[in-house]
């Protein structure tokens, strides 16, 4: 069953918390991974791999560049999950 937008935000918040140590409540759709959440390009790969696993999507490397904010990632996952 597909995850809802709220579930995806909450899931990404847990992932970002695990990887970058940012409090879950600070991980909001408008936040930029690099500028606001201390996720550098290498850590972004970790976020992507964890999100793929959690939400059952494939996010090719070329598409990762387009995921600037948490909201971008949420939309991508909603549009690509089964």
């Amino acid at each position: 069953m597909a995850a809802t937008k709220e579930e995806i935000v909450a899931g990404l918040a847990e992932i970002v918390n695990e990887i970058a140590g940012i409090p879950v409540e600070d991980v909001q759709p408008e936040k930029s991974f690099t500028d606001d959440l201390d996720v550098d390009s290498l850590s972004m790969v970790e976020v992507v791999v964890a999100a793929e696993e959690r939400f059952g999507v494939k996010i090719p490397d070329d598409d990762v560049k387009g995921l600037k904010t948490v909201g971008d990632a949420v939309d991508y996952i909603i549009n690509h999950q089964d």
């Binding site: 990887i19 970058a20 140590g21 850590s43 790969v45």
Partner: protein, 420 residues
């Protein structure tokens, strides 16, 4: 050549070792003659031919925030902890340039590791095999590269004069200190943070060192296995940790009114060209390194009262080292109190030269030579004054000390320090 017209001094020290999470607790353990060697409780150790090691007393996870720690190999975690202690001890805070005490382009970092991020490499290979290539951490390369401890220390402190990583197995840490001295003497930097770090307590390195017959397979109680210079020694005990110091031109230290532990007189280097791992039995290479040191500094052998020996507790190595010292120093060896601190810390490989430099600096500063543990019966080929039983006072006036480090590959490094 006399290079001491540009004196270099030690202004800060830091360590995380099997005896303690900082240099003070490490020194306390060394003076008390406490062993950091313990049985390995990990499940993976059960099948190994050697099931003891000297693990750090304080896990880095208790100190570093988790998001930072997970991007650092254990060797870089140790280095960062020791470097920050040394940096603060030297009276610096924040990054270079932030407090006006040293310019970033006048600060260097030279931190060595003997075998680099070996646990990262092996753990990620396990991930590759068990979970597939997609799950291999994107941090793997910056974690496993041998310059990772140096690079992370340099980043943390803002060192822009140069960041370097000498690699010479178990001599690496001492080579790093020597390199730092040269950086300051040649005018490339005013301040250099230098030392060594190692984190190789993992089944593969243990099996490999055991199979080459370098590790002791003794069935004694763990704290009794590392026994340099004892007649029954039969190999080293693997240790882990880091030792790092802040070196500074005497002029720069004086200008900012820094506390000075001692002077670093310089280094003597040589290579055995004898065998890839076996020490040269007569100590020819070690003697050459010491001779080079004496010729390139104003060290007066009459001032030498202490030496932190490389002495890993192997049958050949310990004897060759003493033969070399006797050959070069003659009767001057008789007034040198020799300590083999690996009897307590185990052998930290590329971290050894760093931790033993911290021990040597503190021995001069506190005028005390740590004891050598487990020296029940002195090998009759060891014709020297080994400090055994209890720590020993080192006397008054201007005194000097040596710190020896040798590595697989035939690398020999002798460092010299003197009170100011």
């Amino acid at each position: 050549m006399n290079a001491t017209h540009h004196p270099v001094v030690v202004t800060g020290i830091g360590a995380t070792t099997p005896l303690g999470g900082d240099s003070a607790s490490t020194w306390e353990g060394l003076v008390a003659g406490r062993s950091g060697v313990k049985a390995l409780e990990q499940e993976w150790a059960a099948e190994l031919p050697v099931r003891i090691a000297a693990s750090v007393a304080v896990e880095p996870s208790e100190i570093l925030p988790r998001p930072q720690a997970r991007k650092l190999d254990r060797s870089a975690q140790f280095a960062l902890i020791a470097a920050r202690e040394a940096w603060a001890d030297a009276g610096y805070e924040g990054k270079a340039g932030e407090n006006g005490l040293v310019d970033p382009d006048r600060l260097g970092a030279v931190v060595a590791s003997g075998i680099g991020g070996v646990t990262t490499l092996l753990d990620q290979y396990d991930v590759l095999r068990e979970k597939g290539p997609r799950r291999v951490s994107p941090h793997t390369v910056p974690m496993l590269m041998p310059n990772s401890p140096a690079a992370n220390v340099g980043l943390d402190l803002g060192a822009q004069a140069g960041v370097h990583t000498p690699v010479s197995a178990c001599a690496s840490g001492a080579e790093a200190i020597g390199y730092a001295v040269e950086m300051i003497r040649t005018g490339r930097a005013d301040v250099v943070v230098a030392g060594g770090s190692e984190a190789a307590i993992h089944p593969l390195p243990i099996a490999a060192f055991a199979n080459m017959m370098a590790l002791s397979k003794s069935e004694r109680a763990p704290e009794e296995v590392s026994r340099p210079f004892d007649k029954t020694r039969d190999g080293f005990v693997l240790g882990e940790g880091a030792g790092i110091i802040v070196l500074e031109s005497a002029e720069h230290a004086a200008k900012r009114g820094a506390k000075v532990y001692c002077e670093v007189l310089g280094q003597g280097l040589s290579a055995d060209a004898h065998h890839i791992t076996q020490p040269e039995p007569t100590g020819r290479g070690i003697a050459a390194a010491l001779q080079n040191l004496l010729e390139s500094t104003d060290l007066d052998p009459a001032e030498l009262v202490h030496a932190n020996a490389h002495a890993t507790s192997t049958p050949l190595g310990d004897v060759g080292e003493i033969k070399a010292l006797r050959k070069v120093l003659g009767a001057d060896l008789d007034h040198i109190a020799i300590s083999a601190t690996k009897s307590m810390t185990g052998h930290l490989l590329g971290g050894a030269g760093g931790v033993e430099t911290v021990a040597t600096v503190l021995a001069l500063y506190h005028r005390t030579a740590p004891p050598t543990l487990n020296l029940d019966e002195l090998d009759e080929e060891v014709d020297a004054d080994i400090v055994r039983g209890q720590a020993r006072p080192l006397g008054e006036g201007r005194i000097a000390a040596l710190n020896n480090s040798f590595g697989f590959g035939g690398h020999n490094v002798v460092l010299a320090f003197r009170t100011v």
